[in-house]
Assembly symmetry: C2
DNA sequence: TCGCATAATACGTTATCCATAATTATGAGC
DNA sequence: GCTCATAATTATGGATAACGTATTATGCGA
């Protein structure tokens, strides 16, 4: 008895599970997805699975090659170079729109999250820092209250998760990341929109550069 | 005997046909899509149709309400206000990246298209102007050579097509649009990236404003 | 070893059926 | 006559089996 609260369709649930497996690199980029086998594995028929794959395909997580099946998307360094500036632009814009609409209470709430960020950094609690960081960005996007902007950002964020390096990139630059966040938060507090926007833009781009630097040392796959 | 070169899947073809029908407002926003009826109409089974609908849903052209069926997306003025600045940002960025990568030959080719634009404007040939305009934007995006940026722009462009006013917006401001294009082209010719980017940004936003103004007069639906 | 015919595999699609949820119609009770 | 609960209807979401066909793998002969 699943006793689901949310009666989401099966294909959506399967899509979500696949997403998680792809993000966790349980299914590595480039690998072929056997429809029948996967359907059997989940104990479902091919129909909802195929629908789920179409959803993932439009998110860019997998690629559907006609008559040749479904493959998990592989991100090249080139793709990262293409995506990061785009993300920087979009997250910058989200910050812009968020600050336009934010009440003082909203800003206070952001400050709260930022305080947690500071605390986690001091205590060197990586996981919590990571989480608070995500929450900060998420809250900003929520304040921007632009569903189109939001969906674009979220889609690209999903794609970035294909790169296993991504989540690691923060670790090496926790201190630096904190400084950048501090700048952004300061700009937000004085409601300097363009400064906050630029701060976010630079913050995201810095993430890309950190990632580029570590590409020589920890080579994950062959 | 279709003798297709590209053996696109049926669900893709159906998706494309539906797109065209939605763009042409043959199926108006808000209307419910009867799966069985549509499948019968195209002489296909429900399976590929449902897959097609999932693709359209992730493009934002239709909305899938769980257990309640599929509805063509309705754009509110609010949505337009959300999307246009985003498009402006993205097309601006595309112009930026295009100009970074463009050879002199590429710029010459853009100039050619622009010349056609000028000519069509002088002769007041609306349809051709419209087409050349599209080609100009398309060429820029192609030069940007960033598949992620491209796909985001194209998706949003599709969504904008839901608004029947959109294509009309050019008509009323053909002269103004030409002037803006002239500015952009000039910046491109001297390779002034930031000026070209800003020119494109303003150009798109001007489209939104023109559209807002005409909303009082030609009210299409109730 | 290479080229080509054959077999195997799996995708894309059809058709049919079913359970469930949403909608509408119906009818009892006040 | 109106409200509310129940029943009938309808459509979605999913399962299953089957089939044509394009792709890939295999094997045979030259």
């Amino acid at each position: 008895m699943p006793a689901r609260i949310a009666p989401t369709a099966l294909y959506q649930e399967v899509a979500e599970r696949l997403r998680q497996r792809i993000f966790a690199h349980e299914i590595t980029p480039g690998t072929w997805i056997d429809e029948q086998k996967l359907a059997d594995h989940y104990g479902i028929s091919r129909t909802p699975l195929r629908e789920a794959l179409k959803v993932l395909a439009s998110e860019g997580l997998v690629e559907l090659k006609p008559r040749r099946g479904c493959y998990v998307t592989e991100l090249s360094p080139r793709d990262l170079d293409d995506i990061f500036p785009l993300m920087a632009l979009l997250e910058g814009r989200a910050t812009h729109e968020a600050l336009q609409k934010a009440t003082d209470a909203d800003i206070a709430f952001l400050a709260e999250i930022h305080a947690r960020l500071e605390k986690c950094a001091t205590e060197n609690r990586m996981t919590d820092f990571f989480e608070a960081n995500q929450e900060f960005h998420k809250k900003l996007q929520e304040l921007a209250d632009n569903r189109w902007l939001l969906s674009v950002i979220q889609d690209l964020r999903k794609v970035l998760k294909l790169s296993r390096l991504h989540s690691l990139s923060l670790e090496g630059r926790l201190a630096q990341s904190l400084l950048e966040h501090r700048d952004i938060m300061a700009a937000i507090q004085v409601r300097d929109i363009s400064k906050a926007e630029k701060g976010m833009y630079d913050h995201i781009l810095a993430g890309r550069e950190a990632l580029a630097k570590m590409r020589t040392a920890p080579q994950p796959s062959n």
